[in-house]
Chain length 466, copies 2
């Protein structure tokens, strides 16, 4: 943290989404935030506007004025240091949401000494001023990007310090032992042991198993954040596109109750009961001698490998039980650890009973009609059940960030060395060094240990204005 | 106004632009705004959040909670009736700008008794509660839509009551006379004249000339709001498209200093020194026997008719002074009252002197090279000078709304009848009736006289959340 210089200048940016709307909010943070806004505002009667003497957390009407031209009637909110998001003086200007007005106001603020904020610079300042740790700051970005109830809940838990606290407990226990062992170094002539080696072994073991659990939670955390990859595969004309359209349209109808949300959804993503599924398009799979077509088929196999769930869709009019068995053999080697859902499409309801009998030995098979939108709800339920992240206890800590996984793995490696050292009765100074490595790795997560490149990398991914 | 029932229920909507950003603001207005938000929020320690007992214009941190799940950490601003935009209780919730979170919060508010706000419903309530008159409310929408300094300034002046005051003065003077004349009716047996007919004539004359000036200002007001239509015409290959691209690209480079503005600009619009120009594409103009091509040429002539400014572009290598004269004859009859700017393109700088000499008798001719971006600034200056709306005194009232023009015309017609009545010594009761018509027409502008259809029509064009 000490490596990073905290700029004392005052930054300003649009904090609400780009574009035009009823209102927009422009945010300033820094020593001169209030004085800059005082320079650009007037009272209703065009008298100078006094803001510095007003209380924190209060709201004031004002005219934003440049060269006697009124740019806008605005509402100004004061958050005085240290009781603000960044810990600095913050002024928020709520203006009319015209893009032209937003620009005019920003230009005016820049003219009077504010500087355009970098992406994530408000949150960077919050971190540097100790308002939150690094994993909480990262969770702010995750929260803004969250698009399903699971990704939202995990980000919220991280932002509120759930993950940081867990790491902090591990660190504290380890720091205790590190201090005792480092104390031994001072008395190295006397060959004393302040740190009980049996207790330390126990602790290392506990911490390792917690780290292992956290690392393994990333598999879930990653799909929560980025969506569960689902491949719909099957022969050409099995009805894959129809099914995808039915799934996506169904959902869009629900989502669009609130206008403007559609532009943020991506064609191939679908949220079912708060869980995000990401569908991967595949070409029809069949044995072919056509080289070009084979490329498409190979791509389908690749999609299968990348997916957590595979929907194998077949036309119940085309495929018999025997054919299905052959087909399964064709894709079996590509499935790996993915979950497989076999779905018979284009069902005739008169023959459904016969169909069920024909395929009765196929586990967890489903019959639908994509075209007639029959049994689609059942299919959705099956998808959710196959990867039911909602049953995860929300108090469980789930790692969603690959940077955190890397740090956890580094800590784990160092602890393995500590363990080896303990077994071989290594010297205290080497032991202390490995414990320090572990501490450092854990400290990277919460930001006790950091550097400029890391911070740049994290905050450059933020949106401007946060 | 009495015809329109003010709903007492509490409305809620997203007030910031659609999409994801650092923060978003959700606004509630109505009797239960505070109690609804109290039901959905908790303190940092998950205790019930008390808001009703807090002061107006204060800001409070809170957790938005549903079934013990934290939806977001939010900042709540209270505006208590009548000191709010709508005149009702207003609560603004600033949340993290994820679309998912915005939706969750809105759904939660709807579940606890808020209703989705209609387009413009906050401003409609402000009007119905007497916080602003109708022309001011309309100016709010114009302000949000403003995209140039001129349209912005006119909208701001209207929103701050500049236009309403002018209308109000006319009305008041007229109301005085109307009362006196109506008084005469009570004494109709006695044939008295309380209202001095000479003074009335003078007043009517003054009001008529003010109305005429206002109506004629609409020509300017309309182009300020919608842009000055400019047609670039000329023979095929004169370089029309190149010129348009050079003009537009130049501008885009400036506009894009602030990210996100580009998506609100339209390909064919260009702001030069705060004035909005709207370019109309035309086909090349030449005499042709080809029927299809003639259709294109006719369309170009139509574009000329619709334009306030015509740029006639010609290739200086192709067209001599004599040719230009013939060309001018070809388009002359279509020009009407539009301004004409003759521009010679593809200049060689060695021959510029000769060129200038050749065309010296052509008034206000300009020479450019669109491809080499030479003298483009001069062309822009010429455009601005041809329609210099900025020289308009900003204290001049400019009508930008065709609804207002209609009402002004209706008032004018009624006043013509009053005048005729005065000249022919018509009975007081007919006179009073015509004055009332004029008053009603003026009252439509500010909303003293209104009806549900009119209000629906006006506010349905607003964005939701304002």
């Amino acid at each position: 943290m000490a490596h990073y210089t905290l700029n004392k200048d005052t930054i300003a940016a649009l904090s609400t989404p780009q574009g035009s709307g009823a209102i927009a909010v422009i945010r300033l943070s820094g020593e001169n935030a209030i004085s800059i806004v005082e320079k650009t505002t007037k009272t209703k009667n065009l008298k100078p506007k006094q803001l510095a003497n007003r209380n924190s957390h209060t709201v004031h009407f004002a005219l934003l004025v440049e060269n006697d031209v009124i740019i806008d009637e605005v509402v100004i909110t004061l958050f005085k240091a240290p009781n603000s998001y960044t810990g600095e003086e913050i002024v928020e200007i709520a203006c009319h949401g015209s893009v032209f007005i937003q620009q005019q106001i920003l230009q005016l603020l820049f003219k009077h000494g504010a500087r355009p904020a970098q992406a994530g610079e408000f949150t960077l300042r919050a971190f540097l001023n100790g308002k939150m740790d690094l994993s909480q700051a990262e969770a702010v970005a995750d929260l803004i990007a969250s698009n399903s109830s699971t990704s939202h809940q995990v980000a919220m838990q991280h932002m509120r310090g759930g993950f940081s606290n867990k790491i902090e407990v591990l660190r504290e226990n380890l720091v205790n032992f590190a201090s005792l062992i480092e104390l031994e170094l001072d008395f190295s002539e006397e060959d004393v042991e302040f740190a009980n080696r049996t207790d330390l072994k126990k602790l290392i073991h506990t911490i390792q198993s917690i780290i292992e659990k956290l690392v393994s939670s990333f598999e879930v955390g990653n799909v929560i954040k980025n969506g569960i990859p689902v491949a719909i595969v099957g022969k050409p004309n099995a009805g894959k596109s129809t099914l995808l359209n039915v799934l996506l349209d169904d959902d869009r109808a629900i989502v669009s109750e609130i206008p403007g949300t559609t532009r943020d959804t991506i064609e191939d993503e679908l949220i079912i009961e708060g869980v995000l599924f990401r569908f991967i398009d595949t070409a029809g799979i069949r044995t072919t001698t056509d080289v070009i077509e084979q490329i498409g088929v190979n791509k389908a196999f690749e999609a299968i490998k990348k997916s957590a769930i595979i929907i194998y869709l077949f036309d119940t009019h085309e495929l018999s039980r025997g054919d299905l068995k052959l087909e399964m053999n064709l894709i079996k080697e590509h499935i790996g650890t993915s979950q497989l859902l076999i779905v018979g499409n284009k069902i005739d309801f008169e023959n459904l009973k016969d169909l069920k009998k024909e395929f009765e030995d196929v586990p967890s098979i489903l019959f639908i009609s994509a075209k007639e939108q029959k049994n689609i709800e059942e299919l959705k339920k099956a998808l959710v059940n196959l990867f039911d992240t909602r049953t995860l206890n929300t108090t469980d800590t789930i790692v969603t960030n690959s940077r955190h996984v890397n740090s956890l793995n580094k800590a784990h490696e160092a602890l393995v060395k500590v363990n080896e050292g303990l077994s071989s009765n290594i010297q205290s100074d080497f032991l202390a060094l490995d414990i320090r490595y572990a501490l450092e790795a854990l400290g990277e997560i919460t930001g006790q240990v950091t550097n400029e490149d890391l911070l740049d990398n994290i905050f450059s991914k933020f949106c401007i204005g946060k």
